[in-house]
Symmetry: C2
Subunit: 320 residues, 2 copies
């Protein structure tokens, strides 16, 4: 049975809370380099989600060096910024990195935590209607604080994390993972988390750590969705050029949770669709530096790209 996709964000009174970093990035790729541009996991996730879902609420922190113009842009995108703390006299989180020729690996050139150092996520009362929660990459103990500070358990909690926390905050990470429904990590992190090379075995182990669903992101090789009994694979779109991979994983997660929030359906079949939409958002993200491509999309462009995904993988075999 075909599923009809609402083509525009609906107006239902649920909310999607997106927690994570809002940052400055300086990026170098084989195609060029940027000065300080706007980045951060929550920025990418929130921006991608905004194409699907209204009533998105941001939890993050910036310094007073962060441009008010960009904060206005968040508002224009439909993101509530009541939970975005602006710290006077402090500086915004800054990350700088350089991608290698293959675009799959990068070196971190500089990390200045700044306002992140003593970030205490505040959940405004108006965020307590949270139905879907996206915990973008952040210190695991802060992710857990957010879970605790939302009084009514959301319908779905999605958490992204990274190898750095596995190396430095193992116990806190394990303690947070227990409370989430969907974990998203990349393939090397899944291996690192479980000491299993086979992603199937890694998934089996991770699904015993708490999450009921696991998304393993393989970059240009697509993404896998696991639950205890099923597995789904979505390819990445083969692109002529990957210009800047920064934020691709966060855009993916944003498209995923945005679509789920829009449809309010957390079945495995709907998660499959959400992964296709997430993959589409990631494929846009990498086409230009930073947020440049992601911020100027039309719903027609998104639909067209989803069509490309359908053409890419669909085949018809009817077994007798």
């Amino acid at each position: 049975m075909a599923f009809q996709v609402p083509s525009r964000p609906n107006e239902q009174p649920m909310s999607l809370v997106v927690v994570g970093t809002v940052a400055f990035d300086a990026i170098e790729t084989p195609f060029g380099k940027t000065d300080k541009i706007i980045g951060g996991a929550a920025t990418y996730s929130g921006t991608a989600a905004a194409y699907f879902s209204k009533n998105i609420k941001l939890v993050s922190v910036v310094g007073d060096d962060f441009p008010g113009e960009m904060i206005n842009r968040f508002t224009q995108l439909g993101l509530s910024i009541e939970g975005l703390q602006v710290k006077k006299g402090q500086k915004t989180f800054f990350w700088s990195g350089k991608y290698h020729e293959d675009m799959n690996t990068r070196d971190t050139l500089d990390t200045q935590l700044n306002v992140l150092l003593d970030f205490d996520p505040v959940i405004p009362d108006s965020y307590q209607d949270c139905e879907f929660l996206m915990l973008s990459n952040l210190m695991p103990q802060l992710q857990k604080k957010v879970i605790e500070r939302i009084h009514k358990r959301p319908k779905l909690v999605v958490m992204d994390t990274m190898n750095f926390w596995m190396e430095t905050q193992w116990d806190a990470l394990m303690d947070t993972i227990r409370y989430v429904d969907v974990l998203t990590i990349n393939d090397s992190e899944a291996r690192q988390l479980t000491h299993e090379y086979s992603l199937v075995r890694a998934a089996q182990k991770i699904l015993k750590m708490g999450p009921r669903y696991l998304i393993i992101k393989k970059g240009e090789h697509g993404a896998l969705l696991f639950n205890e009994k099923q597995v789904f694979f979505a390819p990445a779109l083969p692109l002529e050029e990957v210009f800047d991979p920064t934020g691709a994983g966060d855009s993916f997660a944003g498209g995923f949770i945005g679509y789920i929030a829009q449809t309010r359906d957390i079945s495995f079949d709907n998660m499959k669709r959400a992964i296709i939409y997430g993959s589409a958002m990631a494929s846009f993200c990498v086409e230009k530096f930073g947020l440049e491509r992601l911020i100027h999309l039309t719903h027609g462009e998104i639909d067209e790209r989803v069509h490309q995904f359908i053409d890419l993988v669909q085949f018809d075999i009817a077994l007798v």
Copy 2:
């Protein structure tokens, strides 16, 4: 529209000629090692194809150290062996390799060309009804000789090759590629052949070298099929364990051309199906050492595996 798959090889009077090595292999993987076992590109391709297509004709060469029992096995599988030369007093081609922990890379420990050194492929008169031609990995000038020695142009010529020929026989390789319809190579080889990192750009260049279709094999990351206007992606099945990758690419190619020969349909849509069947055969191949798993399959097992591929990638999004 769903396509009904004939579930058993049909009896139509076409023939599929499979050319390539029949060899002894000694393989070491993290799971164990073998003594000399039967291997070779044509062995794997022919065996995989035999599950789909009758009237398969083998062109290869072995020494008189090759077990008659295995030659009988070829016959039992339905392979014609009139084009299989047995060289008295000579030894069969031998390859020995060791796989690394990740199973994606391997070291060649020993290569003894033996009978391959002066192999001159003979095409028996009974092979001149060739409708489909599979040129498994072999010296490019020998692949070209086979094309020349088949008098009537086959409906589809599929050629596999490898990086070694790019490094040592560039001109002969370019000269052979011009005459084939489908080229199958892996992702690093596509990059090596074109000096393009992007597989989309690499494909565009390769499709100007002669082939109308290109299959880029990405191992555990699946396979891409390109023609000038379309692209199709088939994932590899996520497996708990890859036991021995030897022959996976050849089994893939055998399943692909076997299915095409069975259905006698060379449309892009049918090639998609053929790639799924090829991927299924490759997924069996890697489950045990050498031919062990591939040789003992049932049609029910193959159908079940194809079902797993359908479940793995199918989703339903209906755009308005």
